[in-house]
Symmetry: C2
Subunit: 569 residues, 2 copies
């Protein structure tokens, strides 16, 4: 009984041994993460095209649900940059931003994503995420970072601009450049520069001046909060809103509301693909953070259970006024570094954010949107890393092609086209490589019973026998390649009477490959050439026996390649 | 010089040695094929939703172009059943049948298909066709045969019925069943029964009555022509057209006209996917026929040059009033059996058909459409073979799933959905299988230097060392699986200090897998566990060296697994 429950409810495992020391550590971590999350949540809501409170709501119920169902001890779940961008891209094509329908469609997107993640977890389909190759993800994240930064420039400059890809955004920015609000632009540029300086220059400066490392760390992390406070004060004191500086304005003082996603079949159908892509990207991002942190304490992450945890979190977001969420990198690392020991830290963070949503929202009335945009830009530019291009170029041209296509298509056509193309190309290139397996013609090493590639070793061969060793399992994508190889060899050399396939490296033969072997056998038979097999593995042999192929084989099956050559000499 | 030309112009090879004996044989074959092709061409045009003359035109220029560019000595190119059905399905969604736009769209489809085939040939992309697994093709052809037969029932019964999948067709047939034309139905049923009898019962009967085998063969092949002549005479003599029997009617007396496909971007965009599917299916059908026939004479087929030949044939069809064509099974076999020695037989067939188009079309004015439908039904039912279901079930459940999905989706949703789903599912199942590679934990066979699976052999292991042997190349789809496997093993057993990866079976490591190895190395390092590699293949080692992975490796690379264990004991 307990084992079944514990599988689906990891909270039963760590909850049983929860003690005061863990509680203290979790509380401290929660406090630090809460302070960091308040501006971040508001900013990502803005990025997703939603009212700021949606960012807070999306960080409350989801965190608690993940704490119950997730397996990572340190993962912090909530809105993250890339998923927020994908949300904006998905909804922007369907509903107008700022309408009630937009917020409700965001709930539907979270609902679909939650159901998909939950389904993949229950049916153990997490392997689907494996089809995103690492270089494709790296390229996608980099290109998304560029688009996100570009999309925030309008807030920094106080102008209107729309677009879901770089080209649209740049054109739109230039078109509206005349409408620039200079006070907004000054706030935006100062806030951005300050945050960059906090990130790069503050800590070394403090350390140089004798401040302790811990204090320097805290000061660095407090940077965004300081910018929020200072710019809000500035707007309030100087009535800058009257000069056209866009502010956050009224945010309801409330706990997360109970909400109902739209179940319109038309809408759900349009959101199906985006929800799938968001689920996969979110899962991949989350699991790699979780595994990195778990490894540091030799803890275990269960990918299928992670899907369930993230699925529950997204369902939570769908019914409490949020939008799609996942495990975020920066917040999780902060949580871990601050000493979080169990998912209870997440629950305490949720309580902190709930208090903020209930009590602190009037304080951010005058918070300029430019400040939130600055927070986003500084956060996402750390995601941008074009070195993956150089890295993949040096390692493998196929990987490079996939990365380049992903980056270019994401920039030019948006996130959905980019990630779809990346996945498609990765799979195609992989199939292409494995569709042309290495096939060596082998001969006998004199004085031994070993056979080696005739091109690389000085070996003995006989004119009437050709032996081919296939260095890969045979399946539909490479079956025809083997056929061609054999026909080319046999039609070019009329002396050949025996073809031996040395099957040492063949782990499996699918039905297509079996039919190719049958065709090879029949056609060689018509040319008066016999087909033999040697060194067939046990499981492959079992399968061949089921299919009557061996009854029709013109030649024989030999235990060793040496026997095969000896018998036909 | 000649070799470059000969590569792209196979005619230069066989044309140089063409002699009188080959000429005689080619002429005889051409005569037989021409007689067979006249009713068949008309029938397939009907199936594609086009006027009957389009079938003749599609058999003239394409045959000649294939004779120049193709590599098969016996392949006969022209309209075939499945491609004609796919043409009707592709166009039916876009243009109304019977309009001028429909025929022009058919030209555009042939143009696109021709350009795609040509492009694939020039860039040597024929491997794309390999992604159609044999069982998927078999399922698809079977389901298409059923749909084609069902689609012809309306002509047999003299009613109207529309639909591109079985469900639509059956419903539509039932709705119009009241409109049945009894005279048409009698002609249709008699013609169909007669053709079935010719195919199954005539030859044994003739042989039993002392007729020579050759004469019996000729009589069997003349069956369709006899039905055409008899039913045409019946309609003419008894004025059956006045009683509602639908006839072929006026067919222009003309050589193939010069035609221009529509280049409307809107239309071409809609035809892109269908043209691609038609190209791939057509190529696969054609190449397997060509290879079967070539093997019988130990001749060679060049798949990339075949693409060029078929591409040229389709371009020919596009500009001479045809529609998409490919190498047909039955006509090619007849051509081969009749003794065709070179592609010149095809050219002579084209001349025969041109004479028919120019002189014989008035003779088929009274030919009932029901007769053509009967010809189609009898021809395609030989394609229907559900035994692939049993065969794949017995061999591999994954292959069975792909076949079943292809058949059901083709029947329920039409040819495009069916073949797309089949390909998608084949690839997914293959990736799924290779995403969970066989990973064995191995130990030392006592008294030897060999290592074997600890689950199957009695071997020696050490508590602080775990050795894993991966029986597949590492790439993005299985990289995470290896990560999970290693983390699970190491977090469950705190005694482990060394993880050795035995790389005997790893032929390649892509960038994703490399990054997984780096992550494994780093995370194991954080757990104070060292990662070692043993028996790394040369090419894999070269690549790893380029990527600095070996510099960061916490453990070492050993030439043999035995060394690795000895060094860490």
């Amino acid at each position: 009984m307990p084992s079944t429950f514990s599988r689906y409810l990891p909270i039963l495992t760590w909850g049983r041994t929860y003690n005061k020391s863990a509680f203290t550590n979790d509380m401290i971590a929660a406090l630090i993460v809460t302070i960091m999350l308040i501006p971040q949540s508001l900013a990502y809501a803005l990025l997703a095209g939603l009212p700021p409170e949606a960012g807070l709501y999306a960080s409350i119920a989801p965190i608690i649900l993940y704490a119950i169902f997730g397996t990572s001890r340190a993962l912090a779940v909530g809105p993250v940059a890339v998923v927020s961008l994908m949300t904006a891209a998905a909804l922007g094509n369907i509903v107008d931003q700022g309408t009630a329908g937009y917020a409700i469609a965001a709930l539907s997107l979270a609902l679909l994503s939650g159901l998909m993640l939950l389904g993949m977890g229950i049916f153990r389909l997490g392997f689907i995420a494996n089809f995103l190759s690492h270089p494709v993800i790296a390229g996608f994240i980099t290109a998304s970072g560029v688009i996100i930064a570009a999309s925030q420039l309008k807030h920094i400059l106080g102008i209107n601009a729309e677009g879901h890809n770089l080209l649209q955004l740049v054109i739109s920015l230039f078109e509206h450049l005349g409408e620039i609000n200079w006070i907004t632009a000054i706030i935006g540029v100062i806030a951005t520069s300050f945050l960059f300086w906090v990130r790069k220059g503050l800590k070394p400066l403090l350390l140089k001046n004798g401040v302790s490392k811990t204090m320097a760390d805290v000061a660095t992390k407090a940077g965004p909060v300081a910018v929020v406070v200072l710019t809000t004060l500035a707007v309030w004191l100087f009535n800058l809103a009257d000069y056209g500086v866009k502010i956050v304005g009224d945010v309801p003082q409330s706990l997360p509301p109970l909400t109902m996603p739209s179940l319109s079949p038309e809408l759900l159908k349009q959101l199906l693909l985006p929800a799938f892509l968001i689920s996969i990207i979110g899962f991949v991002e989350s699991i790699s953070v979780a595994q990195t942190l778990a490894a540091k304490k030799r803890q275990r992450i269960d990918p299928d259970q992670e899907l369930i945890g993230l699925g529950a979190a997204n369902l939570g977001a769908a019914f409490t006024g949020g939008f799609p969420v996942t495990g975020g990198f920066s917040r999780s690392v902060v949580n871990f570094d601050a000493g979080a020991e169990t998912p209870a830290a997440g629950a305490f963070t949720a309580i902190g954010l709930a208090i903020a949503a209930l009590a602190l929202t009037p304080l951010i009335f005058f918070l300029p949107k430019a400040t939130l945009a600055a927070t986003i830009i500084v956060a996402v530019l750390s995601l941008v890393d074009f070195s993956i291009l150089k890295r993949s170029w040096g390692y493998s041209k196929a990987d490079f092609a996939a990365v380049l296509a992903t980056i270019l298509l994401t920039l030019a056509m948006g996130v959905e086209a980019g990630v779809s193309a990346g996945v498609g190309l990765s799979i195609l290139l992989h199939l292409y490589k494995s569709s042309k397996p290495h096939i060596a013609e082998v001969g006998l090493v004199p004085g031994t019973e070993h056979f080696r590639n005739i091109l690389r070793h000085s070996v003995e061969t006989k004119p009437e026998i050709v032996t081919l060793r296939v260095d890969e399992s045979l399946y539909f994508a490479n079956a025809r390649f083997l056929e061609d190889k054999i026909y080319n060899r046999v039609t070019a050399d009329k002396a050949i009477k025996h073809v031996i396939l040395q099957c040492t490296a063949i782990n499996a033969i699918d039905l297509s490959a079996l039919e190719s072997l049958e065709a090879i056998n029949t056609r060689l038979g018509e040319m008066d050439v016999k087909l033999h097999l040697s060194e067939v593995k046990g499981p492959v042999m079992d399968r061949l026996k089921r299919a009557h192929f061996l009854d029709e084989l013109t030649g024989r099956v030999f235990l060793t390649q040496f026997d095969a050559v000896k018998a036909n000499s």
